[in-house]
């Protein structure tokens, strides 16, 4: 299970080289929704952000700041509402991707947000099934 998760994390970061889709954001969101360990999720967001900034030659700290704040907002929402649902994952992927692409100046913002949301929901379903199977 951990190997599978590591693979997903590594793959999403590496694919920063060929697509502008923020797959790292979607992966962090899905893991934050499923995992109970806050420290791991924030640490993952922080380090994945740093890695993306290095390979995309951005100012170091930009992506990690965004990801950490995004996860904070997700956890804030969890205080009031249930987040382990597909609609939540869809909407948060959508708005997270929209903000990320807008802030970093990419094109095709709306299309990429929709695609990221679909990928997010699929990944969320996959992870929940995998966790249920493991139990």
């Amino acid at each position: 299970m951990w190997l599978f998760l590591i693979f997903i994390v590594v793959a999403s970061v590496i694919f920063g080289a060929i697509t502008t889709l923020p797959l790292a954001l979607v992966v962090i969101l899905c893991l934050s929704v499923i995992f109970k360990n806050n420290f791991s999720v924030f640490a993952l967001a922080f380090f994945m952000g740093l890695y993306l900034d290095i390979i995309l030659v951005r100012t170091l700290g930009q992506s990690s700041t965004f990801f950490v704040v995004f996860i904070f907002l997700v956890f804030l929402y969890e205080r009031k509402f249930e987040i382990q649902t597909a609609p939540f994952v869809f909407l948060s992927s959508f708005f997270g991707t929209l903000s990320y692409l807008f802030i970093f100046g990419y094109n095709h913002v709306l299309e990429q947000a929709v695609v990221s949301s679909v990928i997010g929901v699929l990944l969320f379903r996959l992870l929940t099934i995998a966790f249920k199977y493991q139990k």
């Binding site: 970061v13 590496i14 694919f15 920063g16 080289a17 060929i18 697509t19 502008t20 889709l21 109970k36 806050n38 420290f39 924030f42 640490a43 967001a45 922080f46 952000g49 740093l50 890695y51 290095i54 390979i55 995309l56 030659v57 951005r58 100012t59 170091l60 700290g61 930009q62 990690s64 700041t65 950490v68 704040v69 996860i71 904070f72 956890f75 969890e78 205080r79 990419y106 094109n107 095709h108 299309e111 990429q112």
Partner: protein, 265 residues
């Protein structure tokens, strides 16, 4: 409830760390550690991008590729001929012009070119495997076979980022073969616009648009007489102050793997 309260301190720690790193990076205080981080992490995207370019399901129509390459060679010969004619005229009038020597071009491999749908949508920026260590500077032109690819906008120790000529951040002075002056701007989504052309000037479809040149005293910048694109359509409104044209670059940016950076001689 225990989970709900516990994340605030963790969030603040990582937020403060991120902001500190951002601040240090903006003020250039991480120039010691960044090269090491780049060196250890850059192999992964380079490898992935290389694999991706050779994937069998990304169709490459060989006949079209061959025609495109022949087209690039012919355009290059046309430019050389034009340059020779100008040099001849300059020699006759006792002036000298200098071209771009091979010693000022640094080959660089593309290690990342994120696009929305890889292989379908065109990227607007590329990551190159040359950086400060190789004398690359912000503002340096990036070329391929007498065609302008873009301009370096960010440099780190081992890597650099170039905005392609289709990127909205690009605006540069250009001219046609017949000397019509204008300004080219990237519009994103693989579009380039030629603007600020006087209505009295004559533009034709398929005209080649060349850079006017924007080199500094050290030879850094965009060299002259590089092909930016070919005119695809012209917009000439009688009441408008200027006429416009849409251009298309002769290069397939997502097929490029090696480009050349203009460096200091």
């Amino acid at each position: 409830m225990q989970k709900k309260s516990k994340f605030f301190p963790i969030f603040f720690i990582f937020l403060v760390l991120s902001i500190i790193i951002l601040g240090l990076s903006l003020y250039g205080m991480l120039s010691g550690t960044l090269p090491f981080l780049e060196k250890t992490t850059s192999f992964a995207p380079k490898t992935v991008y290389g694999w991706f370019q050779n994937l069998p399901f990304i169709p490459k129509d060989k006949e079209i590729e061959k025609l495109k390459n022949e087209n690039l060679e012919l355009v290059s010969k046309l430019l050389d001929q034009e340059k020779l004619m100008k040099e001849n005229a300059a020699l006759l009038s006792q002036f000298q012009t200098e071209g771009l020597g091979n010693d000022s071009l640094l080959p660089a491999q593309i290690v990342g070119a994120p696009g929305f749908v890889p292989g379908v949508t065109e990227p607007e920026e590329i990551i190159l495997n040359k950086g400060e260590r190789d004398n690359v500077r912000v503002g340096s032109g990036v070329v391929f076979q007498n065609n302008l690819v873009g301009k370096i906008t960010k440099v780190s120790y081992y890597l650099s980022k170039a905005d392609l000529v289709t990127n909205p951040s690009i605006a540069l002075p250009v001219q046609t073969f017949s000397g019509v002056l204008g300004v080219v701007r990237g519009e994103g989504e693989d579009k380039i616009t030629l603007e600020n052309v006087l209505p009295s000037e004559h533009l034709k479809i398929d005209d080649l648009i060349l850079t006017k040149g924007d080199l500094d005293i050290n030879g850094i910048g965009i060299p002259p007489n590089l092909v930016v694109g070919r005119i695809e359509s012209i917009e000439k409104i009688p009441a408008a102050i200027f006429q416009k044209a849409e251009l298309k670059s002769l290069l397939d940016f997502d097929r490029l793997s090696v480009v050349f950076i203009v460096v200091e001689r």
